[in-house]
């Protein structure tokens, strides 16, 4: 019976993987790009200053400016918000926002401040673009689709991926004995080894990403419990989740209201200093003030970090007394129970915002391994079913379709992303529709790459599309030289590793695709002497092309 079980799981693995493989490839590729979204955005806005010229701001520099600006601009507001530039999370600028009381004329406002003058920065100094954020958002939002459709498609694919991972582990019968096994240049067997290796080597990452991805929309996909116990009222669940402690009057989660008594807001830096003992190694990257200028005012300080039992992401102080808002338990971090901790941990692991540069590369690399796992799986499916050496070149419609979709996606989608970057450099700067058309360039290129293999023999299409992707990536740094002054000749000497790293990565990807194209070519020209050659080639008219 064990053999039958394994066979069933293999069957399930094969067909679930095939069903959604291309969508998953899209999600993984765009999501992986998302780990460097702020770096990508920076590259796509070459008018921004170089790293060395960019002043990373300390709280002492930034917050007096923001406080002064808000005092002038938005006195009497219900809420003030201010953020220091945090390039690691994509905040390039010193920025503020505010919310006036109900009934005010312009209820919401925001501004980007010039760090030298403290005044509102006029006009946008860098080209408008979707940036890296666009690629990131696409991995769960897709594109051209209503949000709700996208969430369901993505959720379905995520669920299928979970199944594929679990069945894959079961199918891989000699997981531990064959852990280090890789036999290259042996046709179908090599593809299977590669697929297994890629899958196993980053398995914890894949399981985490898949499961946490599903949990992001937990009550969309699995609303049964919420419906049964809370009647579908997610707010009520959230309230109960965050504990009764937060709902006594002294605590800032209780509906805070204006007292009407005026109390001038002291310097925010004093409160930033109070955060020192609690967050010894962290910068206060953002502040929110509730009811500035009122005696009930509360100041909330933020930083970006991983939730752990003894760390927090927000500390609050009452302005009138200067004391921490929160009970004794809150001294040790917001304790919302194990379920919430698990959920938050999953989110934080998935997004990886806490990651330093090296860890971020590990995340990026693991994401690329995911793309590789999916790609090798899709290719393995076709290789196993190629018509053997009988001289007949015919393969069924399904097989042909899959072969061509593979080419169009595995080579074509990366080419589309490269085209997105090309569009960023080539589209006119003043054009209002730049961001939309950068996006269109991605999809138009991808569509063309999907259609092209319909007109070519499979083997040629592979080589040509891989070559095209190689060209798009590899030539991008040269396009950069021609169109901007943020190319390698400038960024390397200046030590701007983010921008230089982008160009270098593009070159590396170009080389990778070129190498793959070169490796694929001889296979199509090999003679059928070796029995393990994936596709035997009898020279026919079409292969002579």
């Amino acid at each position: 019976m064990k053999e039958t079980f394994r066979h069933s799981m293999t069957w399930l693995h094969t067909w679930t993987g095939l069903g959604v493989g291309w969508v998953l490839f899209f999600m993984f590729l765009t999501g992986t790009a998302g780990y460097f979204q702020s770096q990508i955005t920076r590259w796509m806005r070459p008018e921004l200053p170089l790293a060395a010229e960019r002043r990373l701001m300390a709280p002492e520099e930034g917050y007096p400016l923001t406080q002064a600006f808000l005092q002038k601009q938005a006195a009497g507001a219900d809420t003030w918000g201010m953020d220091l530039p945090s390039p690691g999370v994509g905040r390039e600028h010193l920025s503020v926002w505010w919310q006036m009381p109900e009934g005010a004329q312009d209820r919401y406002g925001n501004a980007v401040l010039d760090p030298t003058t403290g005044e509102r920065r006029e006009g946008e100094t860098a080209r408008s673009t979707g940036g890296g954020g666009f690629l990131y958002r696409m991995h769960y939002h897709l594109h051209y689709l209503p949000e709700v459709w996208a969430y369901w498609i993505v959720g379905f694919c995520g669920m299928v991926l979970l199944l594929a991972l679990l069945t894959g582990v079961i199918t891989h019968r000699r997981l531990f004995q064959d852990f280090f096994l890789f036999r290259p240049a042996q046709g179908g067997r090599s593809w299977r080894d590669a697929h297994a290796v890629l899958g196993v080597v980053a398995l914890p990452f894949f399981l985490m990403i898949t499961y946490s991805g599903l949990v992001f929309f937990l009550f969309t996909y699995m609303p049964a419990g919420l419906l049964a116990v809370f009647g579908g009222d997610e707010e009520r669940l959230e309230e109960e989740l965050h504990g009764h402690d937060s709902h006594t009057e002294e605590h800032q989660d209780a509906p805070l209201s204006r007292s009407g008594v005026q109390l001038p807001l002291p310097s925010l830096l004093d409160f930033v200093a109070k955060a020192g003992p609690v967050w010894p190694e962290s910068t206060v990257t953002g502040i929110r003030v509730d009811f500035p200028g009122d005696s009930n005012s509360v100041i909330n300080l933020f930083r970006h970090t991983l939730p752990a039992p003894d760390s927090e992401r927000m500390i609050s102080f009452r302005v009138s007394t200067g004391e921490r808002v929160g009970s004794e338990e809150h001294e040790h971090g917001e304790d919302h129970g194990w379920a919430h901790e698990v959920e938050e941990t999953l989110f934080t692991l998935h997004r990886g915002r806490f990651a330093g540069p090296l860890l971020r590369w590990l995340y990026f690399g693991s994401g690329l391994l995911g793309c590789g796992m999916i790609a090798t799986g899709l290719i393995l499916w076709t290789v196993k079913r190629r018509p053997k050496s009988t001289g007949s070149e015919t393969s069924g419609f399904g097989h042909s379709l899959v072969e061509r979709l593979n080419i169009g996606t595995i080579a074509g989608l990366p080419a589309g992303i490269a085209a997105y970057f090309w569009a960023n450099r080539l589209l006119p700067l003043d054009w209002a529709h730049r961001p939309e058309w950068e996006a269109h360039s991605l999809f138009i290129t991808w569509a063309a790459m999907l259609l092209y293999p319909a007109f070519r023999p499979v083997r040629n299409a592979w080589v040509e599309e891989l070559g095209f992707a190689a060209a798009l990536f590899g030539l991008l740094p040269f396009l950069n030289v021609l169109t901007t002054d943020r190319h390698l000749g400038v960024t390397l000497p200046a030590g701007d590793w983010e921008l230089a790293g982008f160009d270098l990565t593009m070159m590396a990807l170009g080389l990778l695709f070129a190498w793959t194209a070169v490796r694929v070519r001889p296979k199509w020209e090999a003679f059928p002497a070796s029995p393990d050659v994936p596709e035997p080639v009898r020279p026919t008219k079409s292969s002579m092309a």
């Binding site: 799981m9 699995m222 049964a224 959230e238 109960e240 129970g337």
Partner: protein, 105 residues
Amino acid sequence: MDSPSSRVPLRRTADQRWSLFFRTLAAVVGGYVLTSLMIVAFSLAWPGHRARGVLGVSMLGFLIYAGIVMWAFTVRTARRVWWTLLLASVALGILITLLKLQKAT
């Protein structure tokens, strides 16, 4: 479709195709229903903090669903899948009704 092997012949009889279709339908739809019922039952029966219980059990839902789908493809006949899911759902339905009545009192 009885014991599918990894090299499935591409041509199947009509019977086999229908069997596969019904099995898949049972797994996807029936499995989801059963998973939801299990979540409801666990949430209602949860002894501790109920919001945490709902959150925690719901998060497990994906794993439960995956398990049910995988199971559905190991059972010998599609018919058996349907019957098992149906019986389990009815049993859970009764349990849930009892739990709700208990809560009401």
